[in-house]
């Protein structure tokens, strides 16, 4: 194996890992956001969380397929990572005020 093919392989593996776990983190963040928003609107918390987690299973499929739609570029894994971090920060900021 030449050096370039090894680098290509490594970078591909890295993207796969980032997309897989990034999608998971993003789904988790979005589900939490949805659950908290529903709770804010008056749905009991356990119902809100249950509904959001049901939707999250479907959301994960969509996000991961979008992430892999163009597997050769770094654009999508990066976008997913950024989105995951943003939602995570948002959730941890609002969680206390919504739940208290």
């Amino acid at each position: 194996m030449s050096l370039t093919s090894i680098t290509a392989f490594m970078s591909m593996t890295l993207r796969v890992v980032i997309i897989t776990f990034g999608s998971y983190a993003l789904t988790d963040g979005l589900a939490a956001m949805l659950g908290l928003s529903l709770h804010r609107l008056g749905v009991p918390l356990s119902d809100a969380m249950l509904l959001s987690v049901l939707i999250a299973f479907l959301l994960f499929i969509a996000i991961i397929m979008w992430g892999f739609a163009n597997r050769n570029s770094w654009k999508r894994p990066l976008l997913i990572t950024i989105a995951a971090i943003v939602t995570k920060c948002f959730v941890s900021n609002i969680a206390h005020s919504v739940l208290s």
Binding site: D28, G29, G35, P44, L45, L51, L54, F68
Partner: protein, 541 residues
């Protein structure tokens, strides 16, 4: 390549890799799940002591409680979990916890109240069913592996639809006389499309069952609240399950009898739903304490697709209703999904449909592997590349190997029944299961492609000997004098059928490679249909 083509190519790549990485695990889960459809029947096959029908005359539950108490006269009973008999599980099962001694697990005959003794096999609901949802031997991690695989199974289903444009044609196309790659792909597509709604829903509902865990253990909110007890209370237990809890007071008190409470709960549900409702599970907490409480549940209604829907908590001393749980509308979505997955309702035709749909899932995964391998095989049938040989060994071990190991479980169960050695037999069965499974992997590596054939013969031999051993150790089922006991005879018949299928597969595999021979009328019609659809697609553009 335009964008659409590139998207499709990416999805094909994703489909292939997920399949290769998770296919073996997914096959195990599908296979064990398919068998779990008939787990109680397998129990009756493997544990002859519970081969009886549910009788209409039933013993008083309270006398069972007395029996449990009498087993450990020196100790104080602290809690009880009682499962009442049902059609498919005709005995009473009790778990009793004591203050100091070990937990007691006993089964009783519902008519006579006699203890059925300790079972010497974990059988369907003790081994095959747990293998389906949490694997064996890696405890907690198994749940997570399977959840992960299930999530990706749904991705596989959606990407599978995306890469096949001709869904309609796939429905009707099976050219079994064509070369191996084409024929397997057709079979892959047929099982994939016809049972697509089932496969998707079974994955989704399977994930829903442990959804509470996924939220309470990983969610961002959990981490931001940073208090595990509170999160569990918030998300998992509090309203969701009609969960009730209170601490013991350490003041002794006289317990109420259970039978009147059961009758009361059944009456409440009968009024609420306008139908006969029967209790299936009783949970007694802090037995003999002033704060004792009794949860009475109808976990699985027999006439509806629902699980874990009705429960009432009674005070154990004065019989006051502490909590009467009615599921919220959103909670109902979940009780339906859980009920859909756990199929405890009483409906034989639908049970068989689940079995067939489950088998189609197994075929779907197996043909996926075979297609990948046969596509990388040269004209003479050689598979030279190392990765192809690795994948082939993996798929032989996980497909025919898994089936053979299961068959060996049945055989060893009957063999153990013949001996009267005194040791923990249930563990031995499981050890044999894993040894046979490991052996099939090693065998697949050594024998390469021929292992398919060998293992088909192995499956045939094991299935047949399981049936014969069952007839030899218990009774021949088709005598004129006695009535046929269908749960056990059904398992026998499926084993005989599996023997025939395995022999047929083996004979087919033994034939020399046939090249593009009989083009039947069917395939011409199919080809015409595909041409037609191709043309209409082109016109659309």
């Amino acid at each position: 390549m335009n964008e659409k083509q590139q998207f499709r190519a990416s999805m094909r790549w994703l489909h292939k890799w997920i399949g290769l990485i998770l296919g073996a695990l997914l096959f195990t889960v599908f296979w064990m799940g398919t068998l779990s459809v008939f787990d109680k029947e397998i129990d009756q096959w493997m544990q002859p002591e519970i081969r009886f029908n549910l009788s209409s005359k039933q013993i008083d539950v309270d006398s069972i409680v007395e029996k449990i108490k009498a087993m450990k006269p020196d100790d104080k009973l602290s809690s009880l979990l009682i499962y009442l008999p049902s059609k498919r599980k005709p005995y009473i099962e009790v778990n009793g916890r004591f203050k100091t001694s070990k937990i007691i697990n006993e089964r009783f005959h519902p008519e006579t109240g006699e203890s059925l003794g300790k079972s010497n096999s974990r059988a369907g609901s003790g081994f095959i069913y747990p293998m389906h949802y949490r694997l064996q031997g890696i405890q907690g991690l198994g749940y997570w592996f399977i959840a992960f695989a299930t999530l990706f199974m749904m991705v596989l289903l959606v990407t599978g639809v995306v890469i096949h444009r001709k869904i309609f044609a796939d429905f009707f196309t099976f050219r079994k006389h064509k070369k191996l790659p084409r024929a397997t792909l057709d079979l892959h597509n047929i099982t994939g499309t016809i049972f697509l709604p089932f496969h998707f829903l079974i994955c989704l509902s399977g994930l829903t069952i442990f959804a509470g865990w996924y939220i309470s253990l990983t969610s961002s909110i959990t981490q931001s609240i940073n208090n595990k007890d509170r999160t569990v209370e918030l998300f998992y237990a509090a309203d969701d399950y009609g969960y009730y809890k209170r601490p013991a007071s350490e003041i002794p008190a006289e317990m109420l009898k259970l039978a009147p409470l059961i009758a009361q709960a059944e009456k409440i549900w009968a009024n609420r739903y306008g139908e006969n409702a029967s209790v299936d599970r009783i949970d007694v907490n802090h037995y003999g304490d002033k704060n004792a409480y009794i949860e009475i549940r109808r976990h699985f209604p027999s006439n509806r697709t629902e699980a874990h829907s009705d429960s009432i908590n009674f005070d154990g001393i004065n019989g006051e209703i502490l909590k009467d749980f009615v599921a919220s509308p959103i909670r109902k979505i979940r009780t339906w999904l859980e009920g859909f997955h756990q199929i405890q309702f009483d409906h034989w035709p639908i049970r068989w449909l689940y079995f067939i749909a489950g088998l189609s899932g197994c075929i779907l995964i197996a043909t996926g592997f075979v297609y990948w391998i046969s596509n990388r095989t040269d004209e003479k049938g050689h598979r030279e590349l190392l990765n192809v040989r690795l994948v082939e060994a993996l798929s032989i071990g996980s497909i025919t190997g898994c089936i053979a190991a299961t068959a060996s479980l049945f055989v060893v169960n009957r063999l153990i029944a013949m001996s009267d050695a005194n040791f923990d037999r249930s563990e031995l069965e499981i050890k044999v299961f894993f040894c046979v499974w490991l052996f099939t992997f090693v065998h697949a590596v050594i024998r390469k492609s021929s292992a398919w054939l060998d293992q088909c013969w192995l499956i045939a031999a094991l299935c047949l000997s399981a049936v014969l051993l069952n007839w030899f150790t218990t009774a021949f089922p088709f005598t004129l004098t006695s009535k046929v006991f269908w749960p056990v005879t059904g398992v026998d018949l499926v084993l005989i059928l599996s023997t025939f299928i395995a022999i047929k597969c083996a004979l087919r595999l033994k034939q020399p490679k046939q090249v593009e021979s009989k083009e039947g009328v069917n395939s011409e019609i199919n080809a015409a249909l595909i041409n037609f659809l191709d043309n209409t697609e082109k016109k659309d553009k």
